[in-house]
Subunit: 332 residues, 2 copies
């Protein structure tokens, strides 16, 4: 079992109010690198910080790392073109961040990214893969691709008050700039990523297609960004069975009907509740308030833990221990 973290960047994240994945655009560039290092080493190495929001909400990568303290799985980054270097082992698929989706062709090399990732997915030796993501701004580009493909699903947010109307406005602007109507790129998913997406969507869909082509079992570990990647794969003609594993926070998000979306896409959905308890710890209280929700494979990692018979109590203890050691018991 290997978790592949598709890490990348999009200039879309610089739009004010879009993402909670970092205190400023400059710092946000390091979030995927830091996430990867947390999962691999348990501590930042090249990255200058642990991704924790100013009021103390830790990156979901810390939950994934907490699970890895209890369930053995391999880990590698698929570098879709990161904005900052990571010390975690990475397969370099892309070379540069994606542009702002409001511009024409923010991912000009979408097709090449997909093909390269497909080759990687077809050669990875693992019989079972979890694919995850870390990209600030990724739910907005996911929405962009879903709209370009004509898929009706909504997207989640790392913010408790999902700035959905801002996202819809940004996406409408992007569609106008690219000169396309919603749904105009159904059946041409890599054009949809090129015009409205980010590099991780092309890489995730490519890894998925390649791994399925050799009979691997694949689970997309994440929320609405993974639904967008799944949509790209389905529109590219991938018909094989695969699954999506996400958190209860995404499943309970009213802006997302993830079960209906999974049904429509023909994918199996696993929802895992980490059983966070109110008032127990600053690290988890934020999640209960709707911050972060998912990312860095959190939902997939929790599913692995449940499958392996690890108690959620045990995962939470590891999370608290790591948070206290990295951030401090009282938050930042």
């Amino acid at each position: 079992m290997k978790l592949v973290l598709v890490a990348g960047a999009t200039e879309t994240a610089r739009i004010d109010g879009i993402s909670a994945a970092g205190a400023s655009p400059e710092l946000m560039a390091h979030t995927p690198a830091a996430d990867a290092e947390l999962v691999e080493y348990g501590t930042p190495v090249f990255a200058p910080f642990v991704p924790v929001s100013p009021d103390g909400c830790p990156t979901p990568g810390l939950v994934t790392r907490a699970v890895r303290d209890r369930v053995e799985f391999e880990f590698v980054v698929a570098d879709a073109g990161m904005a900052a270097p990571t010390a975690a082992p990475a397969i370099r698929v892309g070379e540069r961040p994606g542009g702002d989706l409001r511009e024409a062709a923010p991912v000009p090399n979408a097709r090449e990214l997909f093909e390269t990732a497909r080759e990687v997915g077809a050669n990875l030796p693992d019989e079972e893969l979890l694919l995850a993501e870390s990209i600030p701004g990724g739910t907005t580009t996911a929405l962009g691709v879903l709209r370009a493909l004509g898929e009706p699903h909504g997207v989640s947010s790392s913010l408790p008050d999902n700035p959905l109307s801002l996202k819809e406005r940004v996406v409408a602007e992007g569609l106008a700039e690219s000169g396309i109507e919603a749904g105009a790129l159904a059946g041409d998913p890599l054009a949809a990523v090129r015009e409205m997406g980010d590099p991780t969507l092309a890489v995730t869909a490519g890894l998925l297609a390649g791994a399925l082509s050799r009979g691997a079992r694949v689970t997309l570990a994440g929320g609405t960004q993974m639904l967008a990647a799944a949509s790209v794969a389905r529109h590219a003609g991938v018909e094989d069975e695969f699954a999506v594993a996400t958190t209860s926070f995404v499943a309970e998000d009213e802006t997302v009907a993830i079960e209906a979306a999974a049904d429509a896409l023909g994918v199996t959905l696993h929802v895992t509740d980490p059983e966070f308890e109110p008032g127990e710890h600053v690290a988890t209280d934020h999640y209960l308030a709707g911050v972060a929700k998912e990312g860095v494979g959190m939902g997939g990692a929790l599913w692995l833990a449940a499958r392996a018979g690890v108690e959620m109590r045990d995962v939470r203890d590891r999370l608290f221990a790591r948070y206290d050691a990295l951030v401090g018991a009282d938050g930042p």
Copy 2:
């Protein structure tokens, strides 16, 4: 146990007659990428070929892969600035190939490479590491660094007739161009790498220093390039114990007195004989004739096999099976 393959490039390899690690300079650029893919996946992925000399001598990476079929170990690339992309998981330490050692400062960022690699070595979670190399032209830059440091040891070659006088001439030219006498950079090993070395030497020495600083057991898996990396570390003040594991082909090379060199450097030496038998297979006959000798961790991998009680017969069978499948039973 993890094998870290330090992979990189030096323009020095373009000098006529220096290296057997690829049919042409253009193809040689892909050799480290292909080596890494062979060890990780058993087959080239991004690389356009299996590194096999025109008359059929396979890269020592295929021996390392054969061992990995029988002995479990983790694997990752430390990318010191590769000339071609690899699909193998890599920690990116450097960004670009080194220059020709005959020019001034072929590795201007030697100190930065060392420091970055030291940080990586200090954070890798493994209690035991093998460090290996893949860089065409690497024995010539190794000789350059040994001479700049005033170390008297000779170097091996991937060619049966070691072009040692050519290497000495190239090194003399490099010293003159850098305006230094032999031995002038003793005690300033990163200046020696900057002026006369290649990026992998700085990265290998940095990984070694970092891993030793946290108490890991480290074995340099290779021949005379690893002696040069060990010299860099010793001149940088690293006093901890570590080992070098190499093949019997290097130990029997008359241009190299590897036991005396190991003694002088205060490192434990492991020599492992793969027990190749004349006439048994084209893949091994070339080694018996003095081609390749070592590289891509071959000597360290053979030592792991011996330590694990795996018969050399068994390693050879895996090597022949992989060679026949990738190249053809009669060679290329």
